[in-house]
């Protein structure tokens, strides 16, 4: 009981839990290591995301509109795009299957776009006939340059009903 009397005599800070020097230093160290670790993870992620890429341009010229007959589907292999011309105009459809990224093929005799990898089938306007592809083939923005050539921008996906009249 003598102990109690002694501690009662000492000035006690009220309302605050007591933190020992050891606990304080442990928490500070762990906190600093945590922050450093988090920062390291962020820096590593940034390091592994390239800022400059040497990849092919996503915008390309597809030549004079006169090259494409009315009611035709033309596969541009280098760009992996179909240029489709109907009676009402032009549109550009991606040739990359929406399932796992294989390059589809235009089957003239069957009038459809087919994927050799897993058998997905699409109409010439990109609409899905059968899977396993989850989505229709996207349409890319297509327009005319000042000197009258078709130009496609593969970064810009447009709605399927937007058709370029020439």
């Amino acid at each position: 009981m003598g102990n109690n009397e002694q501690s009662a005599a000492l000035p006690q800070p009220t309302g605050r839990p007591e933190v020992s020097r050891r606990d304080f230093l442990n928490e500070i160290t762990l906190g600093a290591l945590g922050i450093a670790g988090l920062g390291g993870a962020v820096l590593t992620y940034q390091y592994f995301s390239p800022n400059v890429l040497f990849e092919p341009s996503t915008t390309f010229r597809a030549g004079n509109p006169g090259l494409y007959p009315v009611n035709s589907v033309t596969f541009l292999q280098d760009q992996q795009v179909y240029i489709v011309r109907t009676a009402s105009g032009f549109y550009a459809v991606s040739a990359v299957c929406t399932h796992l990224g294989c390059i589809t093929q235009w089957k003239t005799e069957a009038n459809m776009i087919a994927c050799p990898c897993h058998g997905s089938k699409f109409q010439p306007d990109g609409k899905k006939i059968e899977g396993p592809a989850p989505r229709p083939l996207p349409h890319y923005a297509i327009n005319l340059t000042a000197d009258g050539e078709l130009q496609v921008d593969k970064l810009q996906v447009i709605k399927a009903d937007q058709i370029l009249n020439v």
Binding site: Y45, F48, S49, P50, L53, F54, E55, P56, L100, G101, C102, C117
Partner: protein, 250 residues
């Protein structure tokens, strides 16, 4: 002649050089033999004594040891292939062709690496099924089962990263399809794919990344977990042996 060689070996074991390397004198008693195994880095995870039945072929078909042997073969042949291979497009494809048609014995090493890799995947699965059907995942082996699952994943990642390195059509499309599967992950899929490939398409960055993963990071991780795996087999009390073995004998 034979006796003189044996005598020479006996004398060698008493020399100071032998003792300094193996830290022991001649292993004559059971105790000195055991101590020689405990005190050796390369032997210490082996059991000093084993049950006779766990050495029978049927107890394990040696599937784990055979997988380790294949891993060693793949490391040796892989390092040899690295002397001729540049992880750059289109040089990688030409180097692969050179290894097949120009380099002496290159086709042998390349095929050994390729067939060995296929066999290793097969053996890892076979080993896993065998352990599973014997109940080898049950206590006290649960931890080692998880280590084994990690090793299975590492083997598959090694196989997949190696698949891109020939830089042919098969490699390109396999990795295109595989990394598109990554991008199906919700929210972070496209970002993970971008970092894994180092770009939007399977190009030079992807080839280099897969190469570094294939020849440095994944083999080191595999080696670490293989060490833990073999060590834990002994620490958990050796191979799983049922009260009766497959052939009905104890």
């Amino acid at each position: 002649m034979a006796t003189s060689i044996l005598t020479a070996l006996e004398t060698l074991r008493t020399t100071r050089v032998w003792k300094s390397i193996f830290r022991r004198g001649p292993a004559i008693t059971n105790r000195t033999r055991s101590v020689a195994v405990f005190g050796n880095l390369f032997l210490h995870w082996l059991p000093v004594k084993v049950r006779e039945k766990s050495l029978r072929v049927r107890a394990a078909y040696y599937l784990g040891s055979l997988t380790l042997l294949l891993f060693i073969i793949l490391v040796v042949t892989g390092v040899l292939l690295m002397f001729y291979y540049h992880p750059a497009a289109p040089k990688a494809y030409q180097d692969m062709k050179d290894l097949r048609f120009v380099v002496s014995n290159g086709v042998f090493l390349r095929n050994m690496h390729r067939v060995g890799a296929h066999l290793m995947v097969l053996l890892v699965f076979w080993h896993m099924f065998h352990v599973f059907y014997r109940g080898g995942y049950k206590p006290p082996h649960e931890f080692n089962w998880v280590v084994g699952v990690i090793l299975l994943l590492l083997t598959l990642f090694l196989s997949y990263t190696g698949y891109l390195l020939p830089w042919d059509q098969l490699a390109f499309w396999a990795v295109t399809v595989g990394t598109n599967i990554i991008s199906a992950m919700p929210l972070i899929g496209n970002k993970v794919r971008f970092v894994a490939l180092g770009g939007h398409i399977v190009g030079e960055n992807a080839l280099l990344r897969f190469y570094v993963l294939h020849v440095v990071i994944l083999p080191l991780l595999a080696l670490l977990f293989i060490g833990v795996h073999f060590w834990r087999v002994q620490k958990d009390g050796g191979l799983t042996t049922g009260s009766k073995d497959d052939d009905g004998q104890n």
